[in-house]
């Protein structure tokens, strides 16, 4: 465990906790950006440069902006004056604590985990592109199709519904307006 890794991890976790616990939703979105950027820094510390920059481009660049847009469009940017937690919040927090305890126990007590970091692999963009065009070309096509379908679906779902026109039936039949 190097010192930079610990510092980045602490900042990321604090930002994630702030994103989940602050009252004002705009502050939550800003904390989320810090958490996602910290995660990108963790990827860079783990020698996954391409994934780190993709994380910054996709999450910090696109998803965070999308969330800010949703906050502003649903007018929930004002600080709520009622409680921010759902009624069963204590159960939820206990369940997440149990999940963390289980995962942490499994991580700390597994015997088969590799101890040492192997030498840094050559994860250049050229290698990744080669693999995407050869071995992973079918998943790439499927992802392209999925993204197209998801974006069209998102536009259709969020499209404003037109109120039904009175007399549109007659207009279609070419009758009186």
């Amino acid at each position: 465990m190097s010192l930079p890794f610990i510092i980045i991890a602490v900042v990321t976790l604090f930002a994630a906790a702030a994103a989940m616990s602050l009252r004002n939703l705009v502050h939550c979105a800003l904390s989320l950006i810090v958490a996602l950027a910290g995660l990108a820094a963790l990827y860079l510390a783990l020698d996954a440069q391409f994934v780190g920059f993709t994380q910054i481009l996709v999450y910090v660049g696109a998803v965070a902006i999308l969330i800010v847009f949703a906050v502003l469009l649903t007018r929930s940017d004002a600080t709520p004056n009622q409680t921010i937690l759902a009624p069963g919040w204590f159960t939820g927090i206990m369940i997440s604590a149990i999940v963390f305890a289980t995962l942490g126990w499994a991580a700390l007590n597994s015997t088969g985990l590799p101890k040492e970091m192997p030498s840094a692999p050559e994860a250049t963009v050229k290698n990744i592109g080669d693999l995407l065009m050869t071995q992973y070309v079918l998943p790439l096509e499927v992802i392209g199709l999925l993204l197209t379908a998801a974006l069209i679906g998102a536009v259709i779902i969020a499209m404003k519904e037109e109120p039904p026109h009175v007399g549109s039936y007659e207009a279609e039949k070419g009758g009186a307006p």
């Binding site: 906790a17 700390l108 590799p114 101890k115 040492e116 692999p121």
Partner: protein
């Protein structure tokens, strides 16, 4: 504690924070943000196991994370579109008040 275990602990805590936010917050947008955090915790696990695994030359962990990021982006777009549609219908994104299908 080995470096891999440190990564796994950070990832587990990240997942727990996301889960707690997704199940306790009233606002639908923050529930979606919690789900995004959980997806990101899984991505960190993939990268950690790829980096410390026996054969990092295969780049399989990086590939999985790239596809996972693409799927998470699609999920965020559709989820936020659903939230906007729900807001237009109910005039609220408070998950407690969207209960017309409650038995």
């Amino acid at each position: 504690m080995t470096p891999l275990q440190g990564c796994l602990l950070v990832s587990a805590l990240f997942f727990a924070i996301g889960l707690a936010g997704a199940v306790t917050r009233r606002n639908a947008i923050l529930a979606l943000v919690g789900i995004e955090l959980m997806l990101n915790a899984a991505n960190l696990n993939f990268i950690a196991f790829w980096r410390y695994g026996p054969n990092p030359e295969a780049l399989s962990g990086v590939m999985v994370v790239i596809f996972s990021i693409a799927i998470a982006a699609a999920e965020a777009a559709v989820g936020l579109a659903l939230i906007i549609a729900i807001y237009r219908h109910y005039r609220t994104v408070n998950l407690d008040q969207i209960d017309s299908m409650k038995g």
